[in-house]
């Protein structure tokens, strides 16, 4: 097991390397460099000082030297300096990262909490009215783009009905640490995460449904019936366990969707997370932040796929390597 995880991590290294090179080159290809932003803030800076600062920051070094320096800093947790906000990127990220992780977790929990029961109902009572309803819902949510759904949710429940706050991550008047503060935080999370979750359930529902329908007619289920296993236990012990297996593999890949989703959700609900930060930074040409965010997202996806593989190898005895 340890060996398997180790090898899986080893396999990530070349991917990470290529990813970092790609991002580094992209960062270099972005119009202007780290100092252009500063120039905008400080118009009095003359060409002479600019050139000197360039030299000092090593921006004139050959690419590979710059890359090595960048990656070395990266490994030390130094993501560079945001020239718009005039503070280290790590500091800038800390709070927003937490917000995004919170939002993503909420979406993930809600997604599974909605999708798993619906998928099971739909698969077990195939062709019943409940199944038809669930399948109908999954078709509609599959077809609906996230940003439109989120906008309509905001329009209806935020503005028209006023049930939920329409922006931010917490009521700014509240003090951190109080009970009301956390309630407010949760309240701000609810509408965006519900919007995200209701759209992302579709994959799991459809997959679980077809897995259950396929597993239902497998020979080993017939063996269990021939053993006299009661119907409820047939599902809990045999069908569901086997059907959940592929869903476990989904977990890691959800992360890609969550990152993309956070960009939309945070922008629509003005939720201060890294998705929103990313859009702002791109527009303000704050490239060190952009680079850091892309790198972190790539890493998160990689870890997600790693998690999926580990989960799979734990639950499926057939995939035990070594």
């Amino acid at each position: 097991m340890v060996k398997f995880i180790l090898r899986r991590i080893m396999m990530m290294i070349p991917q990470l390397f290529v990813l970092s090179v790609l991002i580094f080159l992209l960062a270099k290809a972005m119009p202007g460099d780290a100092l252009t932003g500063q120039l905008a803030n400080n118009p009095k800076m003359d060409a002479q000082t600019l050139a000197e600062m360039r030299e000092k920051l090593g921006l004139n070094d050959p690419l590979y030297v710059q890359y090595t320096r960048w990656i070395k800093n990266l490994l030390h947790g130094d993501l560079g300096l945001s020239y718009v906000h005039q503070q280290p990127v790590t500091d800038l990220l800390a709070g927003r990262m937490w917000n995004t992780i919170l939002l993503s977790l909420c979406i993930l929990v809600l997604t599974y909490a909605i999708a798993v029961p619906l998928g099971v109902i739909s698969g077990r009572w195939q062709d019943s009215w409940a199944d038809k309803l669930i399948v109908g819902y999954s078709y509609v949510s599959f077809a609906t783009p996230l940003f439109i759904f989120a906008l309509i949710m905001l329009f209806l429940f935020g503005f028209k009905l006023g049930w939920f706050p329409t922006g931010g991550s917490v009521d700014i008047q509240l003090e951190e640490g109080t009970f009301d503060y956390y309630i407010s935080k949760l309240n701000h999370l609810l509408l965006p995460s519900l919007s995200g979750a209701l759209i992302s359930t579709v994959g799991i529902i459809q997959y679980l449904r077809s897995e259950i329908i396929d597993t239902k007619v497998k020979d080993f289920v017939r063996t269990a019936r021939a053993k006299g296993v009661p119907e409820a236990k047939i599902y809990s012990r045999h069908i569901l366990r086997n059907s959940f297996l592929p869903i476990a593999a989904f977990l890691g890949y959800e992360i890609t969707g969550l990152i993309g989703g956070s960009v939309f959700l945070e922008s629509i609900f003005s939720y201060p997370g890294i998705g929103q930060l990313f859009l702002q930074s791109i527009m303000q040409r704050d490239y060190s932040v952009v680079t850091a965010l892309v790198m972190i997202s790539g890493l998160a996806t990689l870890i997600g796929t790693l998690l999926s593989d580990i989960i799979l190898s734990v639950v499926d005895p057939r995939i035990r390597i070594d």
Binding site: K3, L6, R7, M10, D322
Partner: protein, 308 residues
């Protein structure tokens, strides 16, 4: 007259493992077998699942690459030929597949299925092509209108005959039949087996007949090779193998065949128990330390056994 000679043929697949997915061993699907086919005979390859009989057949026809050894056909070593050169020999060696369902493309009409080899090798006008295909289809006992139908409109036995018609299109000299009837019901089996015997005479075919069913092998074959874990255990004429088996593995295999006479049940059971006992006691005399059989040793003009 030697027609095809297989010489020390090996097909090994690498097994990867360990930290860096290095090659840590080989699956020896076929491990150094030699035999030859004579013109017009039916040679049977028998063995249990995983013994390498199917791989052997597929290697001869070029679907699987040989790791080592020679396949001599018309004095040419087929394993050394490039794909382009091999094409010339395609016409002479054809194959009948096990599964009559997957071996016919469901999206093609019978006409297009049977004409496929013609289009590759002969430039015929559509009329000539159709005439030739209809002739073949009638030869295998189907109505000539069948050429406009799709495979799913036929039963298993009929599909298998369409497969045979396709194999016959180029007038091959050798046909490799890989479990040609094991997917069929017994009554249909008989039909296909009889038919294969008929066309053998008519087209002067040589068969390499691969099967796990000893009853069918006995019905069809002149000479038989018994395979075990990629190697030959015994080779001989039908009578030698069935009446005078020398290797304990062959004896055990033959004793396992259900006896169609219910009165001789006890007798058969006793024989099996005796052979099982011998198998355990004499194991080291027939198998080496790794559980592999010894190289074949010739004990008569036609009979060879793997004993030290």
């Amino acid at each position: 007259m030697t027609f095809l000679r297989v010489n020390q043929l090996k097909v090994h697949y690498p097994v990867r493992g360990g930290f860096f997915r290095k090659v840590i061993g080989h699956v020896k699907a076929v491990d150094g077998i030699s035999f030859e086919l004579k013109k017009g005979e039916t040679y049977g390859l028998v063995g249990e699942s995983g013994c390498g009989k199917t791989t052997t057949g597929r290697t001869i026809i070029g679907l699987v690459k040989a790791t080592a050894g020679e396949i001599l056909f018309d004095g040419k070593d087929l394993t050394k030929l490039s794909r382009r050169e091999f094409v010339q020999y395609r016409k002479d060696i054809q194959m009948i597949f096990q599964d009559p369902y997957s071996s016919l493309n469901p999206r093609k009409r019978v006409l297009d299925i049977v004409a496929e080899p013609l289009r590759n090798f002969e430039k015929l006008s559509p009329q000539e092509e159709k005439r030739k295909v209809q002739g073949l289809i009638e030869k295998v006992g189907l109505h000539s209108d069948s050429v406009y139908k799709y495979p799913h409109e036929f039963s298993g036995g009929q599909r298998q005959r369409i497969g045979i018609a396709r194999a016959l299109t180029l007038n091959p000299k050798l046909i490799i039949a890989d479990e040609p009837v094991s997917a069929l019901d017994v009554s249909v089996q008989a039909q296909v087996l009889n038919f294969m015997k008929d066309i053998q005479k008519e087209f002067q075919l040589t068969y390499l007949f691969i099967s796990h069913d000893l009853g069918i092998i006995r019905h069809m074959c002149d000479r038989i090779g018994i395979m075990y874990r990629g190697q030959f255990v015994e080779e001989g004429t039908k009578d030698e193998i069935f009446h005078d088996p020398k290797h304990i593995y062959t004896k055990r295999l033959l004793a396992s065949i259900p006896n169609a006479d219910p009165l001789r049940r006890q007798e058969q059971q006793k024989l099996r128990q005796q052979i099982e006992k011998d198998y355990e006691q004499l194991y080291s005399r027939y198998f080496d330390a790794e559980g592999r059989v010894y190289p074949l040793k010739r004990i008569s003009e036609t009979h060879s056994v793997a004993i030290p």
